[in-house]
Assembly symmetry: C2
Homo-oligomer: 527 residues x 2
Amino acid sequence: MAEWKNLDTLKAYKALMESDHRVDIKKALAGDAGAERVKNYSVPMACGMTYNYAAKQVDEEVLGMLKALAEESDLEGKFKELYNGAMINTGEKRLVLHHLTRGQLGDAVVKDGIDKRVFYTGVQKDIADFAAKVHAGEICNADGEKFTTVVQIGIGGSDLGPRALFIALENWARANGKLLMDAKFISNVDPDDAVSVLKSIDVAHSLFILVSKSGTTLETLTNEAFVKNALVSAGLDPSKHMVAVTSETSPLAKSSDYLAAFFMDDYIGGRYSSTSAVGGAVLSLALGSDVFDAILKGAAEADKLAAQADPMANAAMLDALIGVYERNVLGYESTAVLPYAQALARFPAHLQQADMESNGKSVNRFGEPIDYVTGPVIFGEPGTNGQHSFYQLLHQGKTIVPLQFIAFKENQTGTDVVIQGSTSQKKLEANVAAQIVAFACGKDDENLNKNFDGGRPSSIIVGDMLTPETLGALLSHFENKIMFQGFLWNVNSFDQEGVQLGKVLAKKVLAHETEGALAEYSKLLDI
Amino acid sequence: MAEWKNLDTLKAYKALMESDHRVDIKKALAGDAGAERVKNYSVPMACGMTYNYAAKQVDEEVLGMLKALAEESDLEGKFKELYNGAMINTGEKRLVLHHLTRGQLGDAVVKDGIDKRVFYTGVQKDIADFAAKVHAGEICNADGEKFTTVVQIGIGGSDLGPRALFIALENWARANGKLLMDAKFISNVDPDDAVSVLKSIDVAHSLFILVSKSGTTLETLTNEAFVKNALVSAGLDPSKHMVAVTSETSPLAKSSDYLAAFFMDDYIGGRYSSTSAVGGAVLSLALGSDVFDAILKGAAEADKLAAQADPMANAAMLDALIGVYERNVLGYESTAVLPYAQALARFPAHLQQADMESNGKSVNRFGEPIDYVTGPVIFGEPGTNGQHSFYQLLHQGKTIVPLQFIAFKENQTGTDVVIQGSTSQKKLEANVAAQIVAFACGKDDENLNKNFDGGRPSSIIVGDMLTPETLGALLSHFENKIMFQGFLWNVNSFDQEGVQLGKVLAKKVLAHETEGALAEYSKLLDI
């Protein structure tokens, strides 16, 4: 059994905090030694990708201390407990099983008499069969015509991850004949969100997926009503256009309002549900179940690497350790995720959720207050766009923001143009290489307005191309990084009590059961 | 003449830093006094909007000190110098004239013999005439058919602002018969960005706007080549499908490659250019020049309010002062912008640019180092989506992040649905009211995992509906807030030297003129 202890009780952490050894990355990256460092400071990832941390403020001494921290914290042992079915989600007293949606890392996990791997693969099979029938036109609209659009109705984890993954693969799919249906997403309770999506589609040829584990998420049920109204207005039978992704115990599960129901359970949190039915249904319909399987394959390969004890062979673990070093020892408060791929436009928003909802905690996994900082603020936009925007602060601001670059050697569509002797793809890559060095090494200038101090740390993940496999591996990398950081901080990364209070108060406002400040805010808003 | 002094030389700032008076917003918002506070802590904004700061950590004492700071820093005088044509952009030795695109706040500004207000309104008139001809079909494609889509090719300021504004008004325009053309945007040098947009449109009926002040922006010229290839492949003459927005001295200005050229000048920075031809061309084509005029009208009204000396009547100034108090006195490092309107989905990204590129500086306006922190990290997503995502950290994380809510009393499309006794719009508003109180007041729970400390500050801007006018006013509010903060920090908010180094290094990479670490990064990326 792994021992769950607060970070500040660990010897290795105390050693890190007491050490005044600091790495000057400007110096570390200079000259031939700097070139050697870039060559050597790499860890292989799944699907041929690489995690390079040469521009991070670490060296053999710091890495040694981080390795000691990984051992003392028993990150490997904790992950093993997790994938073998221990009750890691202490707040809600639940297992944490999203890894099982993509592979069997350890023992069979049997819960309530059910082998959970069998359950998840069974649901995937049901979805694949359903999707195949939709694609073949066997499941079709009342006029016998094929469905051409799939619309996901969900919020938070039922929206951001699947949406980010679809956007990530849309161009790839079009270029490879894999875009079988268009996909759209409705999430916000703002009525204009649903109205806008409904205006943009042909409802007669659209299939809607209602995603709610409990079957009671207010935003989702409200948006379902919008969709049903639109279907009825168009003279259509909603039950012939809707599918549910929900838990077996939810009111939606056995309802005749849906063509089919695909099941999720309590052991996969919303933000970790992209590889469950939550992502599986919409992605299998839009891109085919073979593409969804390829995402799972990439994720499974990355999960396997994450199960290793040695952080120097485990990119997710090393990334997690360096992140904790930056947050707790160096004191950096936020981290920017900067993918040099337009297809990853919404990937930072998904990671923002995955990370901040998991580790934005002030109590440990036993509900006791902790005296050290936890999860950072996460934000980001694709490069090169960000270079013409907020990078100014990243380069010359008073605040140091650690950076996580992501880049690929080839673009997805295979189409490109040569201008000034290079393709756009090479320009894109040249920019990310240039940024790493600019941030780390800076440039001296007598005019301080044009001076760059450097010393701004970054890492980069490099892959050949953003494909279903590499996307799955990327997703898994970050999920596992966040998990390891939760282990280090000794927090429960799998509940989200912080979202509850707002819900309770919003109900009071709607019931006009308010007084004091809340009543005045309601007046201000004309509620 | 205003005196430009570093923040830490001001008496009022020293008084703020020395004071240990702190406002407990949980207490301040309690009971009847809390209700009174919500009523009173409001400043009227343009177009019927309101800035409410009752949940900020201020009271009469703090506000008095902030007012003294505004006076000592002479924020009113500095803004007056700016709009009267002083050389406020000290780095590039330029005037700062974006306010003139929407009104004449002070004296005529004559530069190089040209009255700049006359110049900007002249360009707006040219754009309006051109747009009217396009809408009437007088300017059309080779087959005599109307253009139905307008595509903006630009990056950074030529992309984020106009894109955010178009998205903000798309639903409103559709509901009001004002969506005259569809609008698309190509920005990233990633070739898949251009490929993807070109796949989604009918090039034969598309008009492209190339936006580059210098006419040399690499991303934009590269994407122009993509577009020209697509047009030529479709058997079309690119010069009959393209318009330029550029400076009069750029190579694009007199080129026969364009149907028309609309001019910008050196006195409007990219991130402040949404109300110039940069936003004007695409928005007038997509929505009509009357809609663009309405945006300008809202912005002009807000600019007038911003010219007042008293921060208690000047929401932009007060917002700026409270932001500096939070950043420099209370030590908060980031700020979240949280619009409760799906239409403002990309508005936070625009503000992220406007703010971080303007005030992410470490030297003052004279190029001297400064010893206090400047611009914060800005991020955000629309509510209620964010509530199911990163709000966990905002509520219960170890880091306090000041919040900027934005909400409206009515939705844009006029379509809604009643579920559980309330419309979606009322649910949306109820959620924002609830969040403010949840963040500020928290909730005690013996189970610390379910405990909310509260004390997390926010403000809210409330408007009747997101229309062209309120959108213009909102844009101006934030532009002026950022400007006042730049004045307080004594930085030049109008240059962006931090974006230069990356460009220089990227050119070296593409020319294979690299050594050391940069050469190794190039190898890693297969460049």
